[in-house]
């Protein structure tokens, strides 16, 4: 981080004090899902006699319909949701950056082929994704990560491509080229490091959308398999007890909202601080 960035960050934080809160939320969530095992309860321990207990001192989030401690399940659920968010982000960022950079750097036929592919993938209606999961995947964490990762890279590729297009005309890239540098070496040495800020901002926003997608898919029953849970699958389960135990629906929902919200705010902060160009289109 250079001095300008640090200064900018300080200014930003001064102007938007609430950002601290969101950073805190993310840190707490990450830490608590890492240290979820410290909870005195076993998230899969069934206790039929103690089911649907409202939140109290012993069970601060109450218990679910099988008498499992809901707070502990929420912690482990957060672990799953965050893992899915991060891992699928890494997958889609890797694919998106590579394809975007190659497409922008080489141009011509390669570019138009790759961009048409992106067009086609983007035009696949979302219901079709459900079809693919339903037909080809076993429900589980690995599948859901793969699905989100494999469908989330297209917008990244577009942004990276347009950044690359401007970068490749820069003197040092041209210079490197005339000196006979290997194309891929140039991409990794000159292009990607220079669009790092774009990548960082995209990644942050990508985590947010991956977590949101995961929750929807789990809600539809394509996600994590019992006895494990994610926030989305907890909501799916809570649906049935809306009347008798609305807290079952409230807690995971609020957690998803807070997490996604925090990542979105953080992403915006990074955008303002790192100031990459073209990042606007990320939001499409």
């Amino acid at each position: 981080m250079n001095e300008v960035t640090i200064k900018k960050t300080k200014e930003y934080v001064k102007k938007n004090k609430s950002i601290k809160i969101y950073v805190c939320i993310i840190s707490i969530l990450i830490l608590s899902s890492i240290f979820a095992f410290l909870s005195p309860y076993d998230p899969t321990k069934i206790d039929i006699n103690n089911k649907l207990v409202s939140p109290n001192k012993k069970h601060i989030f109450g218990t679910d319909d099988l008498g499992r401690d809901y707070f502990t399940r929420a912690l482990y659920g957060g672990r799953v949701s965050l893992t899915v968010g991060f891992v699928s982000m890494i997958i889609s960022m890797t694919i998106g950056t590579l394809i975007g950079a190659i497409s922008g750097y080489f141009g011509g036929r390669i570019d138009s082929f790759l961009m048409r592919t992106v067009d086609i993938i983007m035009s696949i209606p979302s219901f079709f994704i459900i079809l693919i999961i339903n037909a080809y995947f076993k429900p589980g964490i690995a599948s859901i990560i793969l699905i989100i990762g494999l469908f989330g890279w297209t917008s990244v590729a577009r942004i990276v491509r347009s950044e690359t297009l401007t970068l490749k005309e820069r003197e040092y890239v041209l210079c490197s080229k005339t000196l006979g540098g290997n194309n891929f070496w140039i991409i990794f040495r000159h292009i990607i490091p220079n669009i790092l800020s774009t990548i960082i901002v995209s990644s942050t926003l990508n985590v947010a959308s991956a977590i949101l997608t995961e929750s929807s898919l789990s809600f539809l029953g394509f996600g994590v398999v019992e006895p494990f849970s994610s926030w989305g699958s907890m909501l799916r389960n809570a649906q049935k007890y809306m009347q008798d135990a609305p807290y079952l629906a409230a807690f995971p929902g609020i957690l998803i909202l807070l997490t996604v919200l925090s990542f979105n705010v953080l992403g915006d902060m990074l955008r303002d601080v790192l100031d990459p160009r073209n990042i606007q289109s990320q939001k499409f």
Binding site: I46, K138, V225, E226
Partner: protein, 537 residues
């Protein structure tokens, strides 16, 4: 049992419902509240008010509203309101609808059906023997491919029939078939004047506006939204009380729940928790009835470990049936432990089989004998079924005790059935399923004989297949009984499937709906005779 005697029922299939559990001796018509003394208005105090409507929640639109092609719960339910069958067999009782009587000849080859006089179709035409003849002709017409087609082909030959007079039809079988009476009960006449000349019934426009003989006729069909039926004044069993019966599409179970509590839906399948809740409410009435359903866990024999009978038996001994039921259904009140593959309503049901009482030591010994180690299995079930999920979690813990690792694989309904019937599917080795096969033991052969359409576990046993073939041809009752009892004993000894329970179907009805007992509670479509339901004044 008005429509399809045989129906392999898939748990909480099309309607967004969860099914409860069953009490063995209870006849399907006896309402739960009589035993529990809940706050239901006594029949005599209820005042019948004609008019009003009743709303059913359905998971999706019915498929084809033609009685030949109903395969799912929703379609069957609505067909039941629109079309009447010839008669209904319920235990030893026979209730006649369109038929006045049915007589069987001494040699068991000729069935004479006499239709009621003055039965009208919804469009005002009379029901005659010609309609029945037309229906039978089309049922044995290969081109129409009716679901029940095969039931009318006996010993490789189709049945024949002839008109005796305007209301009487004689049906002649090519050879003796004891279960044919069940097939005949399932016949729902279709109108000749409507369908004559239609090339392909499935694609017929007429199915959009079906003409039947049932208590209610089609008024409006708003796709994806609702089907509104209105009272058929000329109904042969007397004018129905209700003005309208509405089937409302509610795709989401939570939405169904909310809509029921708001009074937007008047009847709903419920689970045990809801049963207990509504029991104490003045706004709702609850009923439980036996659906004649068995819930079980099947062993897929394409798994190498499960091919070994000892492993299957070990698993059976490792499980505690009562604990599973209590976990999933709260108490034994709502689900009766099952020890054999037939349901108690089925003829020749016997409990005189190996019951596999919970015995961990024996289970461990059996595993040791089998020589298998580090067994890892996967259990498939429908992800939306709460009961199955709870059962799965308990079984997972129990199998851990004898060193079997069980992975759970909840699947979406569609994917589940797809995989279930995929013979080579190795995604799961154990699987939950349920069925309603009716009271004729012969229908169970579809599950247990080689090549049977529902023999998805891949069980093969020549000796037993012979017994299954012999079953329907055996006229001597005592011999038939012995045959089917032996079959049950063998299946249990071989442990091809682990029967769990006979769940009771639980329903809740809005407090202002009366006549529930009179309408007869039935599997699949809840009310056998909708004309008997009314609004309490």
């Amino acid at each position: 049992m008005k429509f399809k005697k045989i129906l392999v029922l898939f748990l909480s299939l099309i309607l967004v419902l969860s099914v409860g559990c069953g009490e063995k001796e209870e006849v399907s018509t006896e309402p739960e509240n009589e035993e529990n003394g809940t706050n239901v208005v006594e029949g005599s105090e209820e005042k019948i008010k004609d008019g009003g409507m009743m709303v059913f929640g359905i998971g999706d639109d019915p498929k084809i509203l033609h009685p030949f092609y109903a395969t799912d719960r929703v379609t069957m339910t609505i067909d039941n309101a629109l079309f009447d069958p010839l008669f209904v067999r319920d235990g030893n009782e026979t209730r006649y609808y369109l038929a006045e009587n049915v007589s069987v000849s001494e040699d068991n080859l000729t069935y004479t059906v006499k239709l009621k006089e003055g039965v009208k179709w919804h469009d005002g035409e009379n029901l005659t023997a010609d309609d029945l003849i037309f229906t039978l002709e089309k049922l044995i017409d290969e081109k129409q491919n009716a679901n029940a087609y095969q039931n009318f082909i006996i010993g490789g030959k189709p049945i024949s029939f002839e008109k005796v007079d305007d209301l009487t039809v004689k049906i002649i079988l090519p050879e003796v078939s004891v279960p044919f009476i069940e097939t005949l009960a399932g016949v729902t006449p279709i109108a000749k004047h409507i369908f004559e000349g239609e090339e392909d019934f499935t694609k017929s426009e007429k199915n959009e506006n079906p003409i039947g003989t049932g208590p209610f006729k089609m008024k409006e069909w708003n796709k994806g939204e609702s089907i509104i039926l209105e009272r058929f004044d000329d109904y042969h069993n007397g004018k129905p009380h209700l003005d309208q019966v509405v089937y409302r599409v509610v795709a989401d179970s939570n939405a169904a729940n909310v809509a029921f509590e708001n009074g937007e839906i008047s009847v709903r399948y419920i689970d045990v928790n809801e049963y207990e809740k509504y029991q104490n409410s003045n706004d709702f009435k609850v009923y439980g009835f036996d659906e004649g359903m068995l819930n079980y866990m099947a062993f897929k024999l394409n798994n190498d470990d499960l091919k070994d009978k000892k492993v299957r038996q070990a698993i059976a001994y490792a499980l505690d049936k009562e604990e599973i039921i209590k976990g999933a259904y709260d108490s034994l009140e709502y689900a009766v432990p099952a020890y054999t593959v037939l349901t108690p309503q089925t003829l020749y049901y016997t409990e005189d089989v190996n019951k596999y009482e919970h015995n961990v030591e024996l289970a461990k010994d059996l595993l040791k004998e089998s020589g298998k180690e580090n067994i890892k299995l996967t259990l498939g079930y429908i992800s939306t079924s709460k009961e199955q999920e709870k059962e799965a979690l308990i079984i997972q813990q129990k199998l851990k005790e004898i060193g079997i690792e069980l992975e759970l694989m909840p699947l979406d309904r569609g994917a589940f059935y797809q995989k279930l019937f995929e013979p080579d599917n190795r995604d799961f080795d154990l699987v939950f399923n349920g069925y309603i096969m009716g009271q004729e033991p012969d229908s169970y052969k579809l599950i247990f004989t080689k090549g049977g359409p529902y023999n998805f576990v891949g069980y093969e046993n020549e000796e037993m297949d012979k017994m299954w073939v012999q079953g329907p041809m055996e006229i001597d009752k005592a011999k038939r009984q012995e045959l089917y009892e032996n079959i049950q004993k063998q299946i249990m000894d071989e442990m091809i499937q682990y029967p769990i329970c006979y769940p009771k179907a639980l329903i809740a009805v809005s407090g202002n709906i009366g006549g529930v007992e009179e309408s007869k509670l039935m599997p699949i479509f809840i009310f056998e005779d909708l004309s008997k339901l009314y609004i309490i004044e």
